[in-house]
């Protein structure tokens, strides 16, 4: 069966510090991968998605970036965090030949 991992689970970072969140998927090949942010009391905001290694589509221009160095690995990064980057970051995957989307456990980021 497929499993999606995210780490760390929680993170507290000062403003201006760098960020690296990692997501890996097990049990499937060539998944579509997604990064979302969920602010308190608000819906899911799509940040990036990737349909293959090195292929990244950005949905929201901001100080975040994403990379997909391996088929089942998706990384969210920032060089300098802003207070507004605080939120719940969710990684998700869908099969290349299916439409259901599955989410990871999330990373709660607090920028202080």
């Amino acid at each position: 069966s497929q499993t999606i991992h995210q780490w760390p689970a929680t993170l507290v970072q000062p403003v201006g510090s760098p960020l690296s969140l990692e997501c890996t998927v097990e049990g499937t090949s060539n998944p579509n991968l997604y990064w979302y942010r969920q602010a308190a009391g608000r819906g899911l905001q799509l940040l990036f998605y990737s349909v293959g290694i090195g292929q990244i589509s950005s949905e929201v221009p901001q100080n975040l970036s994403a990379s997909r160095p391996q088929d089942r690995q998706f990384i969210l990064s920032s060089k300098k965090l802003l207070l507004s980057d605080s939120g719940f970051y969710l990684c998700a995957w869908s099969g290349y030949d299916s439409y259901e989307q599955y989410f990871g456990p999330g990373t709660r980021l607090t920028v202080t």
Binding site: L46, F103, P105
Partner: protein
């Protein structure tokens, strides 16, 4: 107008009640529909997924899609306190990789 509208609630019901959760949408190109359950501080869990119109049942859960009205529903029978969570609807068109989510309905089932 948002592409997907969902009443934020909270919706409070007594244990054992039938719960009806709904979303409306404006894009007639949507063909794939999903319902997620999200507990506080957890990732969303996929509950039901359907393609095009019709009903799909899984245990106490029934998903219903009415494409002519651009309206989808999730019914929960014999609701339990453990069903207390936020329920998100999501949808997608064919030929696109992007999913559009509702903002979620918070459900409270009272023991």
């Amino acid at each position: 107008q948002k592409e997907v509208e969902q009443d934020p609630g909270p919706l409070s019901v007594p244990e054992g009640a039938i719960v009806s959760l709904n979303c409306t949408y404006s894009n007639s190109a949507f063909q794939y529909f999903m319902w997620y359950r999200q507990y506080s501080r957890k990732g969303p869990e996929l509950l039901m997924y359907t393609y095009s119109s019709g009903n799909k049942e899984d245990g106490r859960f029934t998903a219903q899609v009415d494409k002519s009205s651009k309206y989808i529903s999730l019914f929960i029978r014999d609701s339990q306190p453990s069903d207390s969570a936020t329920y998100l609807c999501a949808m997608k068109g064919s030929g696109t990789y992007k999913y559009i989510f509702g903002t979620g309905t918070r459900l409270k089932v009272l023991a």
